[in-house]
Amino acid sequence: MANIISDETMEYVGILAKLELSDEEKKAAAADMGKMLDYFDKMSELDTTGVEPMSHVFPIHNVLREDVVTNGDDRDAILQNAPAQKEGMFVVPKTVG
C-alpha cells in the first residue's frame, strides 16, 4: 500500500506540529512522509491481536512525595533565558483582543 500524502494532510500536520513550511519544503516532506509510512506499514504484517500496547518496559507507577517546597527561588535565573521578560514574568504577544 503506497501512502499518498495530500496537501490537506500536510496542512493539518503543519497545524498539529506548529510548523510553517514553504511549498518546496511541504512537497519534500510529503514525499518523505509517504515513504516512511509505507515502511511503517510493514508492522501490519504482524498479528498483534490480544497483545497489550507496551508503553514502558518496567511497571510504571506514580511517585508521590509530601507537598513541600524543596527547590529554592530561582525565578531570576530561569528568566535569564527568556527571549523577553518584564517584572519577573515572560513577555508574549497579546493573546486576547
Partner: protein
C-alpha cells in the same frame, strides 16, 4: 608514559599517587584540543577557564583527602543535550543556541561530586536526531580515525573527543544507538545501561521512554567505573530505578567459563558488511576459546524493530519538542503577527530539516484516525519484541552481534536518503525498545582502517554479564597482541 594515552582510571590513580597533578591533566587535554580541534570539531563549547579553575579546587580536595574516588581529577566532556549550570547547552540546535541552564543534569552532578573536571560540551546531531553528527547546527564533527569519515551519531562529538584524546572520557545519550554506534565508528567503548539506571533529570528529552545516558570511554575498566558513579536513584526522574547491584567494577573479572552467549542469525543477514561480519564472528571465537558456550539462534522480529522504533520515537519527539515555542528559553523569531504566528515562525526557523521531518511524522502517527494504526500498533510490536528478548535471555546470558551493518560512512553520504540511514540502526534500536543494557567495544578494523564495534546485549539489570564478557575479550586481545609483538620482535604492535 604520555599522559593522553592513559585511561581515566589510570589517570586518577596517577593523580592520587602524586605523579601527575589535576592541572597538568587538564592542560594536556586543552593542549590537545588546541592542536586537533580545528580539524575534528568535537566540541560546541570548550570551557577553558572554568576547567583550569576547577582543576585547582579538585587538587586541593584530593590533597586534603576529601576526594579519593576513581575519577577524581579526570577531565570529562559532556554531550550538549545534558544541562550544565552556567554553561551553554545547545542540543546542536539554533533553537537553543543561547540557552544557559540554571541547573545541571543529575548525571553531570554525580561526576562533579566524584571530582571529574568538565572540559566542555560535545557536538551532536540536532536534538540527538541523526546517526552521523551531520545534522548539528554548529557544523559536522570528523572521525579522528580518518577525518574523511563521520564519527557516527548522535553522540559523535563525545566519541570523537575520546578517540582524539581531547578528553579522558565523555557522556553521551542513547535513544536508538546514539552511544554505541559512534563508539563503534570511532573505536572506543560505549555503554547504554538498563533503562532507568542513570537519571534523565537535566537531559533534554528526545524520546523519553527510550532515552538513557551512558559513558563513552577508552576501555572496559573505565566503562564499569564511570557507570558505577552515574547509577544512582533520583527522585527527580520518575523512571529512575532504585538498584542495589550497581557495583559494576566487581564484574571486571577475566572469566567467561560456562557463560552462554547467543548469536542471533537475524543480525547476520543481508546488508551486513562481510568485513564487519568476519570481525564479529572472530570475537565470538575468542570468547569461546576462553570458555564461553557460543551458539546461534533465531531472535525473530528484527525487521519490525526499525518501523516500531521510528513510530514511537517520532511520536514522543513531537510531544517533547512542543516546549520550544519561543517563550521560556531559546530562539524567538524577530518578526511575527500574534502568538500563534510567533510559535510557528520560531519553530520553523529554529529547527533544522531532520528535526522538522521527525516532528511532522510524529504528529501524524499520533493524529486522530492514525493513532491506532501506527502508534498503538508500534507499542504492540514493542511488546512482542520485548517477549522475543525475554525468551532469548531464558537461554543466554549475553547476546553478541554487530553494532552497525558497516563501518563509518564518508561525510556527506548519509542524509540524502533518510530511510537508508534509519536502517543503519537495525542492530541497536531493539535494545532501546526493550529497555536492555548493551555495550560496544572495538573488535578490529576493516581494510580502510576504520574501527568495527562488537555489540554485547544483556537482559535488564545484567550489565555485569556484559562487563565480564567485554573485559575478558579485551584482555584476551591485548594478550594476543603482546604475544604477536614479541614474536615480531619490533615492539610496535597496535593495541
Amino acid at each position: 608514559m604520555d599522559l593522553l594515552t592513559m585511561t581515566a582510571t589510570q589517570l586518577a590513580a596517577a593523580i592520587k599517587e602524586k605523579k601527575v597533578t589535576v592541572s597538568e591533566a587538564v592542560q594536556a587535554v586543552l593542549a590537545q584540543i588546541e592542536k586537533t580541534e580545528a580539524l575534528y570539531h568535537c566540541y560546541i563549547t570548550v570551557d577553558k577557564e572554568k576547567a583550569l579553575e576547577r582543576a585547582k579546587e579538585v587538587q586541593k580536595k584530593i590533597d586534603a583527602g576529601e576526594l579519593s574516588g576513581p575519577l577524581a581529577g579526570v577531565p570529562v566532556a559532556i554531550k550538549d543535550n545534558l544541562c550544565t549550570e552556567g554553561l551553554l547547552t545547545t542540543c546542536g540546535s539554533k533553537m537553543l543556541g543561547n540557552f544557559v541552564p540554571a541547573y545541571s543534569a543529575q548525571a553531570v552532578k554525580n561526576l562533579e561530586e566524584a571530582g571529574a573536571v568538565l572540559i566542555g560540551k560535545t557536538n551532536m546531531d540536532e536534538f540527538a536526531m541523526g546517526s552521523t553528527t551531520e545534522t548539528s547546527f554548529f557544523g559536522v564533527t570528523k572521525n579522528p580515525v580518518n577525518p574523511e569519515y563521520v564519527p557516527g551519531g548522535s553522540s559523535g562529538g563525545s566519541a570523537a573527543a575520546v578517540a582524539a584524546g581531547e578528553c579522558f572520557f565523555a557522556l553521551g545519550s542513547d535513544t536508538g544507538g546514539s552511544i554505541r554506534q559512534p563508539a563503534s565508528f570511532c573505536g572506543v567503548v560505549g555503554m547504554k545501561p538498563t533503562y532507568g539506571t542513570v537519571s534523565r533529570y537535566g537531559l533534554v528529552a528526545y524520546a523519553s521512554s527510550l532515552d538513557q545516558i551512558g559513558p563513552l570511554c577508552k576501555d572496559v575498566t573505565d566503562c564499569a567505573t564511570i557507570l558505577e558513579v552515574l547509577a544512582t536513584h533520583d527522585e527527580k526522574d520518575s523512571t529512575s530505578l532504585n538498584r542495589n547491584d550497581t557495583d559494576f567494577t566487581a564484574a571486571l573479572v577475566e572469566d567467561v567459563k560456562g557463560m552462554k552467549i547467543g548469536i542471533p542469525k537475524d543480525y547476520f543477514g543481508e546488508g551486513l558488511d562481510p568485513e564487519v561480519k568476519a570481525a564479529i564472528l572472530k570475537a565470538a571465537e575468542v570468547l569461546q576459546e576462553k570458555g564461553a558456550i557460543v551458539e546461534e539462534f533465531d531472535l525473530s522480529l528484527t525487521e519490525y524493530a526499525v518501523p516500531a522504533y521510528y513510530t514511537i520515537a517520532t511520536a514522543e519527539a513531537s510531544s517533547n519538542l512542543e516546549r520550544f515555542d519561543g517563550v521560556k528559553y531559546g530562539y524567538r523569531t524577530p518578526d511575527y503577527l500574534g502568538l500563534h504566528n510567533m510559535y510557528k515562525k520560531t519553530r520553523s526557523e529554529g529547527f533544522g530539516a531532520e528535526v522538522k521531518r521527525r516532528i511532522m511524522l510524529g504528529s501524524f502517527v499520533l493524529s486522530s484516525g492514525y493513532y491506532d494504526a501506527y502508534y498503538l500498533k508500534a507499542l504492540r510490536v514493542k511488546a512482542l519484541i520485548k517477549k522475543a528478548f525475554d525468551e532469548a535471555f531464558a537461554k543466554y546470558d549475553v547476546i553478541l552481534g554487530p553494532v552497525a551493518p558497516t563501518t563509518a560512512p564518508k561525510l556527506g553520504e548519509s542524509l540524502s536518503d533518510p530511510l537508508k540511514m534509519y536502517l543503519g540502526d537495525i542492530y541497536t534500536i531493539s535494545v532501546n525498545l526493550a529497555g536492555l543494557p548493551a555495550m560496544s567495544i572495538p573488535c578490529g578494523k576493516d581494510e580502510k582502517g576504520l574501527p568495527i564495534g562488537l555489540q554485547l546485549i544483556g537482559d535488564c539489570y545484567k550489565e555485569k554479564n556484559l562487563i565480564r564478557a567485554a573485559y575478558t575479550y579485551e584482555r584476551a586481545v591485548a594478550a594476543d597482541v603482546c604475544a604477536n609483538t614479541e614474536a615480531d620482535g619490533n615492539g610496535k604492535g597496535e593495541v
